[in-house]
Symmetry: C2
Subunit: 476 residues, 2 copies
């Protein structure tokens, strides 16, 4: 089973429609396709074929999109590297994925210099040679790979297939509605599923993307008022900042703007009310890298009676609570064509599905009407400004310090970022406490470095000596 | 690969949304689902299981929908019988499909009495017993079977799978757009793909259907003005009649009404202009039973520069012209997940695809911009008021008359129906000419009975003695 090449098809069917806008520049699908064909030829010059796996390290800008679309034309797999990661973290992913070539946005070159990357500048200047255009895409073709950590602290590379992305885009359309002149404002990173799924929707719907390198509340508020964009993706903290801009500057949101999709945990009701006062619909959603973005979404009409709910599954998906009755909490299980077929690298043999069901590790329940409530994101995960942070990964780094005997990390509430990591350590030499932040900084992305370090005599553990991170939280 | 049961999923996700409206009655998805569960239990009372194949002969009314939805819950295959067919034609299909049970709308009982059918009244009064709800649907499950004739004059039962219907609905949504409050006015028969695909879209989108037993220009025009419906399906002749109503009564079409999907051949530009004057978008489409409705669709923006074109493929589909270059005419080939996997019964071993490509038998070309033009529906097909009519089938009936030596049927232009069949016959006894209409009436649906019979000395044939129906047309 195949799809016609999405980008070729878009250039053919809606070649004159807006595909991408970045800064002052705009490209139609016809134009983006031409550029992508050129980039595909340049990638081929560096030996990339449909059998290759490449890694991309880039800011979320137009050139990154061209390189990604070039990869789509060639048919290679893309490992999406997070530009905020430290060198050691990137090296781990590049090594685990056994990529054939790393391509890197010039200013990030130093982070991956050891992997002998090709810079975007070298790519741009390379000749575009003949290549085999991937005219049809197998449904099970791996399009993107994104690393996510978890209980072990070892990041795992999650495969996202063409069918994963397609069914995600289609299910979202059936839920939110879709119109040929929609334009999605993208201020979330393209190397995350939140951002990459916007590109995938763009190709499947023929929808324009207004892209920014990073989130900026002032610019975002202006975009909502200008009348060019219809949708955007945010998390609660960024939504709050945008609403403040609108409120303080007494801005008027364009009638053309339709919806904000809000991930990364529940949005406070007060934010929803403020959004509504400005005519903004906010749809809260629950999803993860392993489900290629949204799995459940809460309709605005239900947001006030189902406070804190993550909504109901999208049309093609199923959600159930492991072994629990209605109203009882348990592990959230997910089934559908958006669920990854598995990992690559070190974890490639680990099963991610049982009878088609993905165990999320998150705890939740379904109410009488079938609305999902996520009671507790798994205790091994905290979300800081939209970025997933895995305590185990930070603990592993801390434990590598010669004076740290034990380390436990948990989420601490933060007014700007929602959550930030906090570390509890048992030390052989108390005086190293002040060095730990600097020690982490060399090996972890900045947002993963604990904002609080506290020395303790012992960590809370259960009978089998497992660290109880939930109890740590109560110590804060 | 499976789908969650579409009807259960709709009741769960959008149970309070309008699903169906017929006459003065309305049902939400929750209500329709309950009724369908009850009907499923009644069908089970008559021994119907997921392994059964049933035939349905019904008017296009609410009860027919309930029975169909009951069948969806059970998971059986439905042979959709055309209520306009003559008894002999129905008997052929029932026999060829080897159905386990025929269910029939009471007033049509006599047409299929010999097959020992269960009437809808009997079904209604039967107890609803326990049955195994089909909670997940295999993608390759045959949902519906529709008979279509062709070159041989023997109707063939076309399988339409869950994936065929799903990809058709989704591809249409990506082309037309979709909104959670859309309502489709259905005045085309449910036993045709044009009508049944509206029900399938209803379930996939969560869209309401305003159903009528048959087309009525006055009522249709009123519906377009009332503001309750957003879409409708028509053919050129019915569009013309609706426009006349609107023009003569100086009606004002509701701003809520969005689009008319027009099948069954090109719509004259003058109709498009008249529609536009009333704010109606008309999208011309090309499709067939074997492709579960639309394959290409012409956007209104292109309708005036690409006069006579059937448009471009929907997103998931591919169209090419067999062995021809751009601009050259040849047989139209179609590929995509909407293409039937094959036939049932007598023709079950006949391949319908070669490397995934369906040979349509229709002749067309693609212009420089990739727009499809259907030059000639295959000469063995004419379309009369939206119904497909196969000359070979009529010729076969005529040849069975003892005094008819040869018979040739072709399309004759008709101001009301677009086309009607005309018959040329070589007779042993000239005086039987006047009996032929009556003779046909006993064995063919009314719309298939030739409106003109003309006696000739010989029929036009080529060197291998094949009837030249295109030449017959020039004799008219």
């Amino acid at each position: 089973m195949t799809y016609p090449n999405w980008l070729s098809q878009r250039a053919y069917l809606t070649g004159n429609q807006l595909a991408l806008s970045f800064g002052e520049d705009e490209w139609t699908f016809g134009e983006v396709n031409k550029i992508a064909l050129d980039y595909a030829g340049k990638l081929a010059h560096f030996g990339i074929t449909e059998h290759s796996r490449v890694a991309l390290l880039a800011k979320s800008n137009a050139e990154a999109v061209f390189v990604m679309y070039g990869c789509l034309h060639i048919g290679c797999e893309m490992v999406m590297l997070n530009e905020r990661l430290a060198g050691a973290e990137l090296a781990y992913q590049i090594e685990d994925a056994k990529v054939d070539q790393v391509f890197v946005d010039g200013e990030l070159y130093e982070k991956v210099a050891a992997s002998q990357p090709v810079s975007f500048e070298q790519l741009r200047q390379a000749p575009s040679v003949d290549f085999a255009l991937k005219a049809e895409w197998a449904k099970d073709r791996t399009v993107s790979i994104m690393y996510t950590s978890g209980t072990t602290g070892n990041p795992k590379g999650v495969r996202q297939t063409a069918e994963n992305h397609f069914s995600s885009a289609v299910s979202s359309a059936l839920n939110l509605g879709v119109s040929p002149d929609d334009v999605w404002l993208c201020m979330v990173p393209l190397f995350h599923i939140s951002g990459f799924s916007i590109l995938m929707r763009s190709l499947v719907y023929g929808m324009g993307v207004r892209l920014y390198e990073k989130f900026d509340a002032t610019v975002c508020a202006d975009e909502l008022c200008k009348g060019q964009v219809t949708h955007s993706s945010m998390v609660a903290v960024t939504l709050d900042q945008v609403l403040r801009e609108i409120e303080q500057r007494e801005l008027s949101v364009s009638a053309r703007f339709k919806q904000i999709l809000a991930g990364g945990g529940p949005v406070p009701v007060s934010y929803l009310q403020r959004a509504e006062a400005h005519g903004i619909q906010v749809l809260q959603t629950y999803g993860m890298t392993e489900t290629s973005s949204q799995t459940t979404t809460l309709q605005p009409a239900d947001a006030k009676t189902k406070i804190g709910s993550a909504g109901k599954p999208l049309f093609l998906y199923q959600v159930k609570i492991d072994g629990a009755k209605t109203g009882e909490a348990g592990e959230i299980l997910i089934k559908g064509p958006q669920v990854t077929p598995g990992y690559i690298g070190k974890f490639k043999d680990r099963a991610v599905q049982e009878d088609g069901w993905l165990s999320t590790g998150d705890i939740g329940y379904l109410d009488d009407d079938g609305f999902l409530y996520v009671v507790d994101r798994r205790s091994d995960l905290l979300v800081s400004g939209g970025e997933n942070v895995y305590p185990a990964e930070i603990e592993k780094v801390l434990m590598a310090h010669p004076s740290v005997r034990e380390a436990g990390v948990c989420a601490m509430v933060d007014s700007t970022w929602g959550e930030v990591p906090a570390a509890f350590v048992v030390l052989d030499e108390p005086e190293v406490l002040d060095e730990l932040a600097e020690f982490c900084r060399g090996q972890l992305a900045g947002y993963k470095v604990p904002k609080l370090f506290r020395m303790v005599d012992a960590l809370p553990r259960n009978a089998s000596n497992k660290l109880l991170r939930r109890e740590l939280k109560t110590w804060l």
